[in-house]
C-alpha cells in the first residue's frame, strides 16, 4: 500500500547531505523507551512530534514502519539498509554496529503510515501530494480523514478537487458527526464513481427482524407477511432463525425419524412397505409423537400464532436516519445517471457490432443484389483475409506497417479468389440461385479444410499495433476499445468508398444498370458477364478486408468465417438487397437489437442470440423483402 511511497522517500532522503538535527536528537533522547516499546494508544503524539522535526524525522518514521530501524547498545537509532547502517539523526554511516531491530506491531505501523501520508499531503512537491492522495483513495483510514482536514489548502486545482473527493469519501465512512456525513454525501451527489457507490452500500445495508413491537432502530419499513417480496415461508424462516419458532419438520427429518423407529418391520403399527405414501408417513409420525418417542415438530397452528404475535421490520444497520435518507437519495441519483451512462455505453457497443456486421455483409449484399446468388463461401473469404493478415505479419515484424500492407493485400487475394470462383463456378450456374448456394457451399467446406491443412487447427494470432490496443475510457461506465473505434472508422470509409464507386464511376453506373435490368443493360452495350465478375470480385475483396479487421479482435481459425456468415445473411435479408443503405440499416438494426437484448441478461448471450433470430424470423413476416426493398421490374426477376 504505502510501501512504494516509503521506498521513494527513502531513496530521496538517503541522497540528502548528512546534517545533525538537534530537535530530533532531543525528541529521541526524551522518548527512547517509548520508541523501543511503543503502544498503539499512546504513540500518536510522539509520531507527530518526530514528523515535525523535518526530513530526518520522516526518514526515521518510514524506517520504523518498515521494520528497518534498530537501536544500538549506546542508545543511538540506526536505519538499516541491507548490510549497512546509518545513524538516524546525523545520517552518518555506522559500520559494524551491534544493534537490536525494533519490531513495532501493525497498529503502531498504521499510526506511523498515517502520519507519513499526512506529512506527504502537505509536501511541497505536487507529484508526492498526488501519490499520497492516490494511496489514501486506495486504502483510507479514520486517521487519514483527520490528516486531510488538517492539511494546508491545496494550490493545484486538480489535486484540490481530488482531495475534496477523498475527504468526502472518508467522511462518509469514518466521520462521527452525522451532519458532517450528510454534508459529505450531498457534496458527492450525482457522482457515479465505483468508490462512491461502494461507500454508500454499507450505509444502506438492511436486515430483517421480527419483534412483537416496533424496535429502537433505524427502520426502513414494516413488512407485511404475504407480500411478493416477503412470503409466508420467508417470515417463518426468519422466526425460526431468531429462535421464536421451532423448526418445522422437513421430509428428510421425518424419513430419518421414521427409519430410526422401525420395530419388526413396522413403524407404530404401519408396515414399512406402506410408507411410500406421504399420508401414511404423517400418520406414523403422529403416532410416534403421541407415544413421546420423537420430539413434536412445529405445527401450522403454532406457526400462525407466532406470525400473528410478531411484526416484521426491515432496518438499516446505520442507526442515524438522516444519514440513510441522504444516502438513499444520493444512491437513487447515482442510479439514474448510471442508467443513462449505461445506455450510452450500450449504444457505443451496438454501433461497433453494427459496423462489424456491416463490413462482413456488404460484400454479400453487393453480389446478392447484382446476381441474385448467395455466396456461401463468403465466410471463407473473410477467413482468407484474416489469414492473409497473419501471413503478412509473420513476414513484416512492424505491426503498423504489416497492417498497412495487409489491408490492400487481403483485398487483392480475395478479389482474385472471387474472380476465380466466378469464372469457374458461378457463371455456369447463372440464374439458378439455389444451385449456386449449394455449389458455393462445396467451395466453402473445401476452403475451410484447406485452411486447416495449411495453418493447423489452433488459433493464429493477428496482433493489433500498440496504438490500437487499450480502450478509450471516459469514466467507470463508458469505455470502448480502440480496435472497435478503428473498425467503425473502417466501416465508414467503406460506406464512403462504395457510394463513390456506385454513384461516381463508370463501373458503378454499369453495375446499377445490370442490377436493374440485365437484358436492357446488355443491349446498351454493357457486358453483364464482365460486370458480374467485377462486382463479385469487389464483394469478395471487401470480405477480405473485413477479415483483417475481424482477425484483429477475434481468433483467426479456419472457422472464423462460419461465425459471421449467418449474421451476414441476416443482415442482408433484413436490410433488403441491392441497396447499400438497406445493408446499413440491416446491420444497424441487428447490432443494436443484439446488444439491447443482451443487456437484459448479460450473462446469457446464447439466449440473446436466440431471441435475435426469432425476431428476424418474425420481422421477415412484415417486410419479406427487407427494410429497404428493391422496387420496380428488377424485384420481380
Amino acid at each position: 500500500m504505502i510501501r512504494p511511497l516509503i521506498v521513494l522517500l527513502l531513496t530521496l532522503l538517503s541522497a540528502l547531505p548528512a546534517s545533525a538535527n538537534p530537535a530530533l536528537e532531543a525528541v529521541i533522547a526524551r522518548n527512547l523507551d517509548q520508541i523501543e516499546k511503543p503502544s498503539r494508544r499512546t504513540v500518536e503524539p510522539l509520531v507527530a512530534e518526530i514528523a515535525a522535526t523535518g526530513p530526518e524525522g520522516l526518514a526515521l518514521l518510514s524506517a520504523w514502519a518498515n521494520r528497518s530501524l534498530g537501536v544500538s547498545d549506546n542508545g543511538r537509532l540506526l536505519i538499516v539498509e541491507g548490510d549497512s547502517a546509518t545513524d538516524a539523526v546525523t545520517g552518518q554511516p555506522v559500520p559494524g554496529a551491534d544493534l537490536t531491530m525494533l519490531r513495532p506491531n501493525s497498529g503502531v505501523r498504521g499510526v506511523i503510515d498515517s502520519a507519513l501520508v499526512a506529512g506527504e499531503i502537505s509536501s511541497p512537491d505536487p507529484a508526492r501530494r498526488a501519490s499520497a492522495l492516490a494511496s489514501i483513495a486506495r486504502d483510507g483510514t479514520a486517521a487519514h480523514l483527520a490528516a486531510l482536514r488538517g492539511a494546508p489548502p491545496e494550490a493545484d486545482p486538480t489535486l484540490a478537487q481530488q482531495r475534496e473527493r477523498a475527504t468526502n469519501l472518508l467522511a462518509i465512512r469514518f466521520d462521527t458527526d452525522p451532519a458532517a456525513r450528510v454534508a459529505a454525501i450531498n457534496g458527492l451527489a450525482g457522482d457515479v464513481g465505483l468508490d462512491f457507490r461502494a461507500a454508500l452500500n454499507p450505509l444502506l445495508a438492511t436486515t430483517r427482524i421480527a419483534a412483537p413491537a416496533e424496535p429502537q432502530a433505524n427502520i426502513v419499513r414494516e413488512l407485511t407477511v404475504g407480500d411478493s417480496d416477503f412470503p409466508k415461508e420467508a417470515a417463518i424462516a426468519l422466526l425460526t432463525t431468531q429462535g421464536v419458532l421451532q423448526p418445522r419438520l422437513t421430509p428428510a427429518d421425518q424419513r430419518n425419524a421414521l427409519a430410526a423407529n422401525i420395530v419388526n418391520g413396522t413403524v407404530s403399527g404401519i408396515p414399512v412397505a406402506d410408507l411410500s405414501d406421504p399420508a401414511a408417513r404423517d400418520r406414523a409420525y403422529e403416532a410416534l409423537e403421541a407415544a413421546g418417542t420423537v420430539p413434536p415438530a412445529a405445527t401450522d397452528a403454532e406457526a400462525d400464532a407466532a406470525l400473528a404475535a410478531n411484526r416484521f421490520f426491515e432496518t438499516y444497520a446505520e442507526p442515524n436516519p438522516d444519514v440513510t435518507d441522504a444516502a438513499r437519495a444520493a444512491q437513487v441519483r447515482a442510479q439514474v445517471r448510471l442508467a443513462a451512462m449505461t445506455g450510452i455505453d450500450l449504444g457505443l457497443d451496438a454501433l461497433s457490432l453494427a459496423s462489424i456486421y456491416f463490413l462482413a455483409a456488404i460484400g454479400l449484399a453487393i453480389t446478392f443484389g447484382v446476381m441474385r446468388v448467395i455466396n456461401m463461401a463468403h465466410g471463407e473469404f473473410i477467413m482468407m483475409g484474416a489469414y492473409t493478415g497473419y501471413v503478412v505479419q509473420t513476414l513484416i515484424p512492424n505491426r503498423t506497417l504489416s497492417l498497412v500492407a495487409a489491408l490492400p493485400l487481403a483485398f487483392v487475394v480475395t478479389f482474385g479468389a472471387g474472380v476465380i470462383l466466378y469464372r469457374l463456378v458461378i457463371r455456369h450456374l447463372a440464374r439458378r440461385p439455389l444451385e449456386t448456394l449449394l455449389a458455393t457451399f462445396g467451395v466453402s467446406i473445401a476452403l475451410q479444410q484447406l485452411a486447416k491443412n495449411i495453418f493447423g487447427t489452433q488459433a493464429r494470432p493477428l496482433t493489433a499495433p500498440a496504438w490500437l490496443e487499450g480502450a478509450i475510457t471516459i469514466n467507470d461506465v463508458i469505455s470502448i476499445s480502440s480496435i472497435r473505434v478503428a473498425i467503425f472508422v473502417l466501416a465508414l470509409l467503406f460506406l464512403g468508398l462504395f457510394l463513390f464507386i456506385m454513384k461516381r464511376t463508370r463501373l458503378g453506373l454499369e453495375v446499377r444498370a445490370v442490377t436493374q435490368n440485365p437484358g436492357m443493360a446488355a443491349s446498351m452495350g454493357i457486358n453483364p458477364d464482365r460486370i458480374a465478375m467485377m462486382t463479385f470480385g469487389l464483394g469478395s475483396g471487401i470480405a477480405g478486408i473485413a477479415g483483417v479487421a475481424i482477425g484483429l479482435f477475434a481468433q483467426v481459425t479456419s472457422e472464423l468465417g462460419q461465425q459471421y456468415i449467418v449474421q451476414s445473411f441476416m443482415t442482408v435479408v433484413v436490410g433488403g438487397v441491392g441497396n447499400i443503405w438497406g445493408t446499413l440499416a440491416g446491420a444497424g438494426l441487428i447490432g443494436i437489437l443484439s446488444k439491447v437484448i443482451e443487456s437484459f441478461n448479460p450473462s446469457n448471450t446464447l439466449a440473446a442470440q436466440t431471441f435475435m433470430i426469432l425476431f428476424i424470423i418474425i420481422f421477415i413476416q412484415f417486410r419479406p423483402r427487407g427494410i429497404i426493398p428493391q422496387r420496380g421490374r428488377a424485384a420481380e426477376a
Binding site: R255, V425, L429
Partner: protein
C-alpha cells in the same frame, strides 16, 4: 381408361423394397447376435444409423426435389425427434437407477422423493435439481412417442405457415430455415433451457426395461426398425408425389405463380408437404439417436442440414431413390475416409492423408456434381434406362429461377 396400379406406376418402389429387404437379411445373417458375427456390432450400428440418415434424406428430397424448397433446417426436426425420444430413454433409465439406490433406505421412497432423485441425477451437471416443465411427459413412452411426431410437426406447421403466408421463397426461405435451426441450437445450448445445455442427453443406447438384451441384439433390432421405417416412408413418399397431388407439388416447384393463378391453394400444398417431411425426419431422428447413444445441440447447427442437402444433391434430387443412394454412399464414404482407414496416397514429396483431404475432395466433387451432373447419381439410372429428356423444341420451361431450365431438361 383404367389406371395402372400404384406399384406398377412406380417400379422403383419394388426395387428399393427388395434391395432393402435383402440388405437387412444379409446384415442380420452376418451379425454377431443372429449370425456368424462377420459384421461387428459397431458396424451394424453404423449401418442402422445410415438407414436413418437415408430416411431423413427421403424427407429432404420431398421438400427440395419435389416441392422446390431448399430447407437448410431439416436436421432441426431430426435432432428434435432424437431429443424427444431421448427424454424418455434418459428419464426411464435414471428412474430405474434412482429407485434401486433408494431401495437401500429402510423406508421406501415416496413418488416425490423418487422424482426429485431423478431430476437431481439428470440435471446435476447443469447445476439444477428441478425437473423442467418440458419434461412433464418424460415418464410415459406413449406420450413421448406422440411428441416425437407432434412437436416437430407443429414447429414445421407454424414456421411454414409464417414463411409461406408472407411469400418468402427462394434464397430468402433457405436462409430463414437456416436461422430457425440456428436459433433452436443456440436455445438448446443454454444450461437453463431444460435440455442439459451442451452436455446434451446421453446413455441413450441403453433401453429401459431391456437390460437383459445385449447391445449386439439391440443393434440388429434397431436396424430392422430403421429399415422398416425407411420402407414405409418410401412407399408413403412415393404415393404422395404420384397422382394429382404430386403433380401439383411439382408444378409449384416449377412455377409457383402459375399454379396460384390456376386456383390451387399453393400455401396449403406447401405446408402439407413441409410438415409431413418434418415428421418423417423426426422419426428418423428418434431411431437414429438411440443407436448413436448421445445427442447434443451441436447436431442442430446449420452445417448438419447443409450436409443433408449435399447428400440429396449428389444422390440426385427429384428421385426418391436418389436421396437414399446419396445419403448411404456419401455418409458411408465420409465415415470411411475420415475414420482413418482409407489408404493414404503417396505422391512424390507429399502424402495425401485422407483424414485431412476428404473434406476438400467432398467439397470439390460436390461443386462438380452441381455443375456437370445436376441429376446426381440417380441420373445414371435414367441414362441406363435410356430415358430421354422431353422434346421441348427449344421452348421456355418457365421463368422461375428454380425451374428446370432448358439445358438441364436436355441433359
Amino acid at each position: 381408361m383404367t389406371r395402372k396400379p400404384f406399384i406398377l406406376r412406380n417400379p422403383s418402389i419394388l426395387v428399393v423394397l427388395a434391395v432393402l429387404a435383402a440388405f437387412t437379411l444379409v446384415v442380420t445373417a452376418l451379425s454377431a447376435a443372429y449370425g456368424n458375427g462377420v459384421i461387428p456390432t459397431s458396424t451394424v450400428k453404423v449401418l442402422g444409423k445410415t438407414l436413418c440418415l437415408a430416411l431423413a434424406a427421403v424427407a429432404m428430397d420431398l421438400v427440395w426435389g419435389y416441392l422446390g424448397i431448399l430447407s437448410l433446417g431439416q436436421m432441426a426436426f431430426f435432432a428434435l425427434g432424437g431429443y424427444l425420444i431421448g427424454q424418455w430413454l434418459m428419464y426411464a433409465r435414471t428412474e430405474g437407477i434412482v429407485a434401486a439406490s433408494l431401495a437401500q433406505n429402510p423406508i421406501p421412497p415416496t413418488a416425490q422423493e423418487l422424482q426429485e432423485g431423478v431430476a437431481n441425477q439428470i440435471f446435476g451437471v447443469v447445476g439444477s435439481a428441478d425437473l423442467p416443465l418440458v419434461w412433464s411427459f418424460a415418464h410415459s413412452l406413449p406420450l413421448q412417442l406422440l411428441l416425437v411426431v407432434a412437436v416437430p410437426g407443429l414447429l414445421a406447421l407454424v414456421f411454414g405457415w409464417l414463411a409461406f403466408r408472407s411469400r418468402v421463397n427462394g434464397v430468402y426461405l433457405s436462409i430463414l430455415t437456416q436461422a430457425m435451426t440456428l436459433a433452436l441450437a443456440l436455445w438448446l445450448f443454454q444450461n437453463d433451457s431444460g435440455f442439459r445445455g451442451n452436455n446434451g442427453l446421453s446413455g441413450l443406447q441403453n433401453i429401459p426395461g431391456l437390460d437383459a438384451v445385449d447391445q449386439a441384439t439391440l443393434s440388429v433390432w434397431f436396424l430392422w426398425a430403421s429399415a422398416l421405417a425407411l420402407a414405409l416412408a418410401y412407399v408413403l413418399a412415393a404415393w404422395v408425389v404420384s397422382g394429382k397431388f404430386g403433380s401439383v407439388v411439382r408444378a409449384i416447384r416449377d412455377d409457383e405463380t402459375r399454379v396460384r393463378f390456376l386456383g390451387y391453394p399453393v400455401e396449403g400444398f406447401k405446408l402439407a408437404v413441409f410438415t409431413l417431411a418434418a415428421m418423417i425426419t423426426a422419426i428418423a431422428g428418434a431411431l437414429y439417436y438411440p443407436q448413436a447413444g448421445i445427442i447434443n445441440p451441436a447436431e442442430l447447427m446449420p452445417i448438419a442440414s447443409i450436409y443433408l442437402a449435399v447428400w440429396v444433391a449428389i444422390g440426385g434430387r427429384g428421385r426418391l431413390y436418389g436421396a437414399i443412394i446419396g445419403a448411404v454412399v456419401v455418409s458411408l464414404l465420409s465415415s470411411w475416409f475420415t475414420g482413418g482407414r482409407a489408404p493414404a496416397i503417396r505422391l512424390p514429396g507429399y502424402t495425401v492423408n485422407w483424414v485431412d483431404w476428404w473434406q476438400v475432395a467432398l467439397g470439390i466433387s460436390f461443386v462438380l456434381v452441381t455443375l456437370f451432373a445436376p441429376k446426381g447419381i440417380a441420373g445414371l439410372f435414367d441414362w441406363l434406362a435410356g430415358a430421354l429428356p422431353p422434346q421441348r423444341h427449344g421452348r421456355d420451361l418457365g421463368p422461375d429461377q428454380g425451374a428446370l431450365q432448358e439445358g438441364e431438361a436436355k441433359a
